[in-house]
Symmetry: none
Subunit: 528 residues, 2 copies
């Protein structure tokens, strides 16, 4: 069983450099960044430094294939550092290309990969047995309603997936919202007419601090997928968003091309747009099709398709989406070359065919059906819940928030007491909660609540990563905090550290009331 | 006055392709992504599509310099889309290199650039008139205390800036905290001995969702700068963190090298590691030095130095930091080549010189002083508040945090009352603060404070983006909140919205005390 990360480099020896020395230099550069002598002085050995596994000559002079294995621990099992170990410093050298990686399960299992993958997307669409047909909303410069009209016609023509052009970016969040609302409504309208389930993918290309709110808005609109360019927004941002939002992630290769144009430099297309993007959560990976305006070979494309579809431990297979250079006439060839589990991303050819996008789409789809007569369809699966994690959010009151929340007799104006937790928990007794701030449209990073426990009542015995800050304001009570039992008197403050088991108890005959402040975003309590 | 973004491409015509056609194809590819015919049908013109400004032959056959101008609006004034317009799709083509960009003020002014720049860093160090000396903590695999020992010896030797190796990445946040706490304490200890102000830069390379907490923790430790690799964590994440945290950002070029190895492909080093990284907030940009183990020319390096230092509207000049290939003997040459405003980043040479890092550092520094005899130093400027926004951070108590902070007579055990604000503000009267939680090693997103205003006292009249949640617990007082004046009685809660002018006043003859909860990371108050 593979325990280490194995990287295959194609290396070129310049000026008669010794290949063994060169390969050792790579292993040092990508780990300790010091020469062997210094590593030896410091006692750093093979658990840290990469190990040369093999060096094989090729049929080209001075060019070798070298395999170095690395301890996965040095990647911290995180994508940014993984990319660094893979190609960080050596990207600055000449004549080194990554042409293959083999990943051990202990590394891969730290990633979730695609949320849907090939089967999940087919299930949502209800389409089996044929490649999927996709197009882009463009050109940039059209009005929102013109873009929506394109989406509508493509969906009416029976197309499966419609994405924004990856250059559709809005300066303001409001414009973004307007654009994607119009486009998704247009697609929903078409779906209502056709009974199909065409999926719309808005482009998410935004400043780092707005990415999450853009995706969150899209999810809130009922949108099931997004288009994202890992090299524009940061590849680990894609991984994070994919883990947070249970949507279909279609990735775009913008800015990745510096890796591919030189056979002696960069990371091979199947490794980067295949394995790595898949680890980061790509359900569908767009790439420049052979025969189009970019110069990739059919061998490049087939390898990439394999990297996306082949078994990879817990990671679902993804759809390859060759784009560009597609015509009605090429569908048969493409089918032979790429097989069923492919997304055909077709732009101009579809828009211009028969001068009607709707008819063009229908014609292309018919052609696909001719080549793949075994198409089966089912009712699209719309049942799965697509939004991110759960929070007990109370309805936000929009508009002006009142400054003053007056107190009277342990109640606050405008703040109705709530039940402490859903009743099925049954591990608490006679306790109520008042949500004072944080749930009414404030932007604070914390919530202020007031809890009151009646005589002999208690809260759940639990633990969680988020911390509590407690201020006793009514009566007396007990805080169990790990092995401590503390009596709280009015205006005592208490702090519950992360993962400390705790409980609040009222052993007195009078009400015990306390404020409790917590992070607004927090984890779910666990049983001790 | 320049109104558009002007990009100079070096283009190569393959197979006798017409250069005008090729340049037009670039302009279309980077904007509308459709052929001219389709753009014309859709009525998209020059406000969207790039415009060919000039095409000049070079002395190489089939190679031209072409300038295309773009409307800055199409970048949305955001880095991800700017990178896309610059080189997104054409990265996937061959024979196109970006060799220069000219940016209009209306674009640049949307970015803040470096927080400190050359002058700000010199002021913090109190070092003028000579290049700065820097080293890296490595190799990966050393224990935290061994790394701290290196930092200590470098600082004792008089070095200016010490950074983590960019491969020092921790799998757990706890280990990260331990490492950077140890290293920063080591440097502080050395500073106490030398009277200097060596600055430590921990490496921030973490998953997208942990970047902010890592930087926030570093800021909370009193650390003034960080090392970050824009191509590993995402360039706009760097811009965002730099805007959020008023720290010195040192950037590392990991994974950027695919842009530089081919004169006919990529984005030139001075554009990428110079102008673009500076826009993203690089105070110091590390690059592979000429003569080192990477193959850059002295011309590359000089152009990059210029891009970092030259005037760019509102953007501060940044330090170039040539790294690699540096020896004691080369200092004089480097000085001639690069000038005063340079950071010499020296690894192995310093560690191995005279077999003592401390002595090696002192020797190198003496050599620099020989070449730059005009060195002036001043007392380091430690007054500026370095943490994220306005927080007055108190020393963190390490180790176990007590659960219970008992109250007695409006004091809390272990919590000494502090002055409300530095006295020079003089816009408040008779008010004290108690920091109850959030400043003692907790990880909460909020701080709990208790303020008490004596008879006729008041707080500053001010506004800020962060919100206040207030709970009155002693006496009575007035809250001015915009045009409202509210009387607060015990256990009344009040909320001050973002940017609302506010003040707390005690018009009574008894003390007025209240808890105030705020976000842990917050902006500085402004005068109304």
């Amino acid at each position: 069983m593979l325990k280490k990360i194995e990287i295959t480099y194609r290396v070129k020896c310049y000026h008669g450099e010794d290949v063994k020395r060169l390969v050792r230099k790579i292993a040092l550069e990508q780990t300790v960044e010091v020469p062997d002598e210094l590593a030896a002085i410091r006692g750093i050995g093979e658990t840290i430094i990469g190990k040369t596994e093999s060096i094989t000559p090729t049929n080209k002079e001075n060019i070798y294939l070298a395999v170095i294995s690395y301890n996965p621990e040095i990647t911290a099992y995180q994508l940014p550092q993984f990319l660094n170990v893979l190609y960080g410093n050596i990207s600055l050298l000449n004549g080194i290309k990554i042409i293959d990686i083999k990943l051990p399960e202990c590394f891969v299992e730290k990633f979730r990969g695609p949320n849907y993958g090939i089967n999940g997307i087919r299930k949502l669409l209800g389409v089996y047995g044929r490649p999927l047909l996709s197009t882009a909303l463009k050109p940039m410069g059209l009005s929102h309603s013109e873009l929506a009209e394109i989406a509508y016609n493509f969906a009416l023509g029976g197309g499966d997936l419609v994405k924004d052009d990856h250059g559709l970016v809005d300066r303001s969040f409001d414009k973004f919202k307007e654009r994607i609302s119009l486009c998704t409504k247009a697609v929903m309208r078409a779906n209502a007419e056709t009974g199909k389930n065409t999926i719309y993918f808005p482009n998410i290309c935004a400043p780092a601090d707005m990415l999450e709110s853009c995706v969150s808005f899209a999810a809130g609109e009922g949108i099931r997928g997004i288009l994202i360019s890992p090299f524009l927004v940061g590849i680990d941002s894609v991984r994070y968003l994919s883990e947070k939002f249970n949507m279909i992630f279609m990735t775009h290769p913008a800015l990745t091309g510096t890796h591919f144009h030189d056979i002696n430099h960069g990371i091979a297309i199947d490794v980067l747009l295949g394995t790595i993007f898949r680890l980061a959560g790509a359900d569908i990976s767009i790439y420049p099709n052979t025969g189009g305006r970019f110069g990739f070979t059919s061998d490049d494309c087939k390898k990439l398709n394999d990297a996306l579809r082949q078994p990879l431990y817990n990671i679902k297979p993804s759809f390859p989406a060759p784009a560009g250079g597609m015509s009605y006439e090429r569908i048969t060839d493409m089918a032979t070359l790429y097989g069923i589990d492919t997304v055909y991303l077709i732009g101009g050819a579809l828009h211009l065919y028969n001068k009607s996008l709707r008819k063009g789409t229908a014609d292309f789809l018919n052609k696909i059906r001719e080549v793949f007569p075994e198409e089966k369809t089912t009712t699209p699966d719309l049942s799965s819940n697509l939004t991110h994690s759960s929070c007990n959010t109370y309805a936000n009151t929009q508009g002006e928030l009142p400054c003053h929340i007056p107190f009277s007799n342990f109640s606050w104006q405008g703040r109705t007491p709530k039940i402490y937790k859903p009743l099925e928990h049954q591990d608490f007794k006679d306790i109520i909660r008042h949500e004072l701030t944080g749930r009414y449209g404030e932007e604070t990073k914390f919530d202020l609540r007031y809890f009151e426990i009646a005589e002999k009542g208690y809260s759940s015995l639990e633990k969680h990563h988020h911390e509590h800050v407690i201020i006793c304001v009514r009566g007396f009570g007990q805080l169990i905090c790990g092995t401590e039992k503390i009596t709280l008197s009015p205006l005592d403050v208490a702090y519950v550290p992360p993962m400390q088991v705790h409980q609040l108890i009222n052993e007195s005959a009078e009400p015990f009331g306390f404020f409790c402040i917590v992070d607004h975003i927090r984890d779910k309590p666990q049983k001790p």
